[in-house]
Each structure stands twice: as structure tokens, then as C-alpha cells.
Amino acid sequence: MAHEVPVKRYRGLMDWLTTVDHKKIGILYLIAGGFFFLVGGFEALLIRIQLWKPMNDFVGADNYNELLTMHGTTMIFLAAMPMLFALMNAIVPLQIGARDVAFPFVNALGFWTFFFGGLLLNLSWFTGGAPDAGWTSYLPLAGPTYNLDHGVDYYVIGLQIAGIGTLIGGINFLVTIINMRAPGMTFMRMPMFTWTAFITSALILFAFPALTVGLVALMFDRLFQANFFEAAGGGNAVLWEHIFWIFGHPEVYILILPAFGVISEVVSTFSRKRLFGYSTMVFATVLIGFLGFMVWVHHMFTTGLGPVANALFSIATMLIAVPTGIKIFNWIFTLWGGSIRFTTANLFAVGFVPTFVMGGVTGVMLAAAPADFQYHDSYFVVAHFHYVIVGGLILGIFAGLHYWWPKMFGRMLSERLGKLTFWTFFIGFHLTFFVQHFLGLLGMPRRVYTYLDGYDFNELNLISTIGAFLMAFGTICFLVNIVVSFRKPADAADDPWEDGRTLEWSIPSPAPEYNFAQTPLVRGYDALWKEKMEGHGTMSPAEPAGPIHMPSPSILPLLMSVGLFISGLGFMYADNDWPNPFFSQLFGTHIVAVLGLAVTLGCMLIRSLKDDPGFHIDPEEPQLKGVKA
């Protein structure tokens, strides 16, 4: 090469801290998201222990509010989305035949900002109290008038930092999918998972900036005495609800669409059939993405916006049942007449279908505005959204992890332990949340830390708590399965399920650093399956073999995120009452805040000035094969 510059490549921990490889970033997302999933799950168990009997005093009211807030916030922002990003990072570039993502550096930055934002949020547990105004952080409850300690400050700043990561991750996937598809991979040949990742990324792009504005406004109210939501200064608390839900409603589709994609892939592979109604699936995905933005007011029926607004948003909400129904029937018709194999991944996918339908049905019930006045803020709502988010998204993630585990790590998970995971988690899930519908209809409100004896709540709550522990047991089975799999050698075949249909199954497991030694030529939908059926067995290359250009690793994404983390703390504690004059001087003059921002901006400057020539890999070098996991 004309201008080869030696690039420092790291090993061990430094390799993981500096990596820009999307498959390794996917693994990092999985580890961090999985960790936060366990944290959020532990919080859920504490909530369920508190509610297992009437008038329990296990955690008390204040801690209960913190647990409730942190459970919701952690599960949505720090567990569910990162685990989806893990699958998207690990699989999407492979499915479209790309060597890499469009912006490897930005991809790494996205991970680290999410990670440090999440750390900042959870740091609140150890510095005097977590946020306690609910994951929706409604005003005026979360405002400076009623919420005096630092909990909500951690919420507004931690989520802003994590939100940057989500936004740039979304842009990265959009550009990757639009610009970097292999020759022949037209949009209408893209695998369903890639399609859902694409639409989800578009939703992220248009939903997250709204959240950012809301968080900034709340932060200004709390830290700089602004009056956005403070009634005394002319502010408007309902404005927060609008801003939050114009983000928050698309957010649930950001979460569920990739799960739909996973289910489509798994159901089709293990039925040995082409996905039924592929083009209607694409249409339904796009339509759900669009409608997702049109219905935010259904979270605010009881706010008092009037019958016209309520009626319009009722109808718009119910419309979403149409494309969702299309998807449900397509999955069923894909299974219909297929030669079905009930692997763990497929069990999760098949279990997903009726579970998600149940969540969808209660969703339509809640969409009827007059009925919503009855269900509102009751346990019925809790049951509904756990049915769609746990029964939809988490079952989808479990299906995807079992399905793609060999491609990510080169090892098979144990089917025996996998089936134990499925049955305990699935039964535990229904035990926990099915009875909550009835608790809601009986009148048990959500978000309260205890209830009185004699309202027929006792037995149902006890059942719910037992179910929660069964789900925890299922999760532990999955962790054991991971440990067991890592004690075995990495020997998964390229196409370990033998019925792989899409491009990721045409390359070694785990995928090499450069993904494809030669860019494949795509000749139809289900590209690999088509080659198998025509007797070729493998993809034919679209280009001659040659050295592959790779981006250099970099520590800058990590440092930029640390800078934001420090800056966040600096702003938060600027007006704190420090007993030590040195600390009050340090924070009070915003030195820490400015220093943190300077680190971030300095890293941006370095990145801008220093061109990244990258390095080249010769795909014939055997020692470079495989992402070392």
C-alpha cells in the first residue's frame, strides 16, 4: 500500500476499551446491558417482595419509590435498548454483507456514552438517594419545588449522556444499511431483522432529540432556576407530559420492532420456510413506525385534553392493531406446514406469539378512552405493558440470543439448559403478570408501596411474587448456560442450525474481524438459502480477494464519555452544601463541569485533526481469523 502507517493494536483489556469492531461492541453492549438487566431485575424482586403481603414494611415508602423509578428507567434505557443494540451490532452488518459499519468510531462512542450515562444514573444509589419520581419523571413531582435531593438530577443528566449514545448509534445503523449493502442486496431482499433495525433506527433519530429537549428543560428548571414546568413562574407541567410521550410512545416501538425482526428470522429458519408475506411484513413495519409517532396522547387521556383529542388518538392507537395483526398472522402462516424444530430459540419465538397477542389485546382495551378512565394508573396497565415489553421484547431477545449465540461467540448454548430457561421464565412470566390484570380490575393502584388487607388483593399478589422468583430462576439458568458454554471449546460450525437462510450463516462462527473475506454477491431474498437450493452451498464473491482496509482502534470514545460523566457530576453538585470549603470552591465555580467538557471537546479536536489511515488485513493470514471472544 502506498502510505502504510503502522497502527498500534492492543490486547486484553485495552483491546476491549479501544475496539471499534462492531462485533466486539455488540458483545460489550450485551455484557453491559445484561448487567443492567440483572440490576433492574433485582429491583423488581425487591418490589415484589414488598408487595407479597398487605401492609408489608420490607423496604418502606421512600425506597419503594426509588426502586420503582430505577426499575423502569434501568430496564428501558439501560437493559432493553442496549441488548437490542447488541444484537443489531453483532448481526446487521453480517446480514447485509458489509465489511464494517459506516462509522466504527462513532459506534464505539455510542457504547461508551450509554455505559457512562448508565453508571452515572446508578451512582445515585450510593450518593444519597436514587431518582424517585417514576420513570416518566412527571412534573411537578420531579421539579425543584417538591423534589429537593439530587435523585432527579442523576436522572436528567444520566439519561442525556446515555441518549447521545442511542442517537448516534441509530444514525450509524441508518447509514450502514443505506450505503453499505453488498451488491444485489436490494431493500426488498433485506432480512426482516435488518429491516426492523432500520425502522427502529429511524424512530430513534426522530424520537430521542425530543427527549433531550425535555431533559434539558427539566435540568434547567432544577439546576438553573428556569421556569419551564414551574407553575409559579408561568411554566406548564402538561408540557412535560407531551414532550415525554412524543418521545416515549415511539420508544416502545423502538423496543418492540427489533424483537419482531428476531421472531421473523427464528420462526422462518426453524420452520425451514420462507417468511410468509415478506413484503407485507416490511409494509407493516414501516406503518407501525409511522403510527408510533401519531398516538402519544393515549398516555394522557385523563389529563383533560378534551373528548375530540381523546377520540382521535383512540382511533389512531387502535389502527396500530392492523399492521401488528398482519405480522402475527404472517408468523403463524410461516409456521403452518413447516417442518418445525423446537429449538430453544424457536420455543421463545413460538411462546412470544400468543403472549404478545395478549399484550396487544389489553392495549386495544386501554386505547378506548372511556375505558381508560377506569383502568388508568391501575395494575391493569402494569400487566399490559409488561406483557408487551417482557412478553414481547424480552422473549424476543432471549430467542435472538439463543439463535445467534454461536455466531457471536463460536459456541453452542446447551439446549437442555435452554429449555429449562424457557419453561421457567415463560411460566414465571405469566404467573407474575396475568394475575395483575385482575388486581387492576379489582382496583389495586400502581405505584403504591403497600395495600390494606381485605380487598381480595392478597392471594393474587402472592402468586405474582412467586412468579417473579420463577422468572429470576429462569434468568439464572441462562447465566449458567453461558458459563457452561464458555467451558467448552469454540467449535460452532459456520451454519450450526443447518437451516440458516441469511448471509451471516455463510461465514465462520464467530465472524472474522473483517466479516467477509470477499464481499458476497446477493442473488435473491434469503441469499444463502437460495444458493443452497440451487446446489452451490456458498455465496459467490462479488469482488476479487485482496487486502482489507480496517479502522484503527481508539481510546478516544472512552475518554470522551468519561469527560461527559465528570462534567455531569460537576453541574449536579455546583450548588451543593459542601462541608469542605475546598470542595465548594471546586464545584461552586463550575471548574469540574468545565473540565469534564474540556476533556470531551479536546478529544473531539484530536479526532478531527488526526486522520485515521487504518490498517490492512490479508484475509489469508490464518492467525487473524475470528473475533477473539
Partner: protein
């Protein structure tokens, strides 16, 4: 794939789109501006919802705004959009010196605009219109200040790029950066057109 400079020392027709990296950068930036549109859209909605919420005894937008000064600032900023177009045109003609010149003019106009805005804010604050005065003042300073911060960021960004061009010349690596900075500059000008209309004109006469 790679970021090799063109072999014979001659730039391709549209250097910003000559490499995949360049095309990715331009497309990614269009998408980023889509996100920015939502950001400013939300800020505008917030401002519109709160602009009547002026506390008793505090100046209203009608009493406050100095339209003549804002009109001058608008003229300066819109002109800078034109000079940034000249810079991109010079880039496409490979007239590097002219390009640098027009970029510097753009930066100078940006600085002038910022100076006027700081002066304006100081004057308003002296009239009792501070950030924490009312919901109107908070949303006004946040919307206009966000835009001002974008202008400031753009000024620093383009200045750094000028330094890079002087050092490295115009290549398929630097061309996309210039092009994208130009897109950014147009975007903040378009946002200003809306601010001028929605905040200042409607605040004065609406």
C-alpha cells in the same frame, strides 16, 4: 473502501462523494440534521406554549425586542450562508485559496452575529428579562441560546477546518468535512429564519 488520496494528484469531480467514507459522512450528516430538526422543533413548540407566560411587572416580548438590531443580525447570518456557498463552489472548482477565503469570511460573519446576540442578551437582562424571570424568558433564552451555541460551535469547527486545509490541502479526506460543515452552516441559518419569524416578528406584532 480506503481513504487513499487520488493517485495522479487530480481531485475527482465531487471530492466529498469520491470515497465511501465521504458518502457515509454526507448521508450521516443529513440524518443528523433530521434529528436536529426534531430538537429545534421541540424547542419551538416549548417556546410557543410558554411565550405568553410573562410574570407581572416583567417586560413582554413587545416591549423588549429591538427589531432593527435583530434584522441586522439576520442580514449578517443570511449573507454568511451565501459566502459558505461560494466556498463550496470554489472547492468544486479546486480553487483552494478562494475556498479558504470564503470560509474565513463566513467565520467572520458568524462572529459578528454572535457579538450582536451577546449584546442583545445583555441589554434584555438589564431590562429585567433574565433566564429565571418567567417561563417566557426561560424558553426564549433556551431556544435562541441553543441556536447561538450552534453558531459558536460552527465558528470554531470551520476555523479548525481552515487550519486543516492549510496544512493538508484539499483531498478526498478533507473535502467531505468542508462539505458537511457547509450543510451545518445552512441548517443553522434556516433555523434562524424560523427564529426571526416565530420569536421576533410574532413577538413584536403577533
Amino acid at each position: 473502501m480506503s481513504a487513499h488520496p487520488h493517485p495522479e494528484g487530480k481531485l475527482p469531480h465531487e471530492p466529498e462523494r469520491a470515497t465511501l467514507e465521504g458518502r457515509n459522512k454526507v448521508l450521516g450528516f443529513w440524518l443528523f440534521l433530521g434529528g436536529e430538526t426534531v430538537l429545534f422543533g421541540t424547542l419551538f413548540s416549548t417556546f410557543l406554549a410558554l411565550r405568553g407566560q410573562v410574570g407581572e411587572g416583567n417586560p413582554t416580548s413587545h416591549e423588549l425586542f429591538n427589531l432593527a438590531m435583530v434584522a441586522v443580525a439576520t442580514l449578517i447570518l443570511l449573507t454568511s450562508s451565501l459566502t459558505s456557498v461560494f466556498a463550496i463552489q470554489a472547492m468544486h472548482k479546486e480553487r483552494v485559496k478562494a475556498m479558504i477565503g470564503w470560509l474565513i469570511v463566513t467565520v467572520v460573519f458568524g462572529l459578528l452575529f454572535l457579538g450582536l446576540e451577546i449584546y442583545e442578551f445583555a441589554e434584555y437582562a438589564a431590562e429585567g428579562h433574565r433566564f429565571s424571570t418567567s417561563a417566557f424568558s426561560s424558553s426564549f433564552y433556551t431556544l435562541v441560546g441553543f441556536h447561538g451555541a450552534h453558531v459558536a460551535f460552527g465558528v470554531i469547527w470551520i476555523s479548525i477546518l481552515v487550519g486543516q486545509i492549510v496544512k493538508k490541502g484539499l483531498t478526498v479526506v478533507t473535502a467531505p468535512k468542508i462539505y458537511v460543515a457547509g450543510m451545518y452552516w445552512h441548517f443553522i441559518d434556516v433555523v434562524w429564519v424560523f427564529i426571526f419569524t416565530v420569536v421576533y416578528l410574532m413577538g413584536k406584532v403577533g
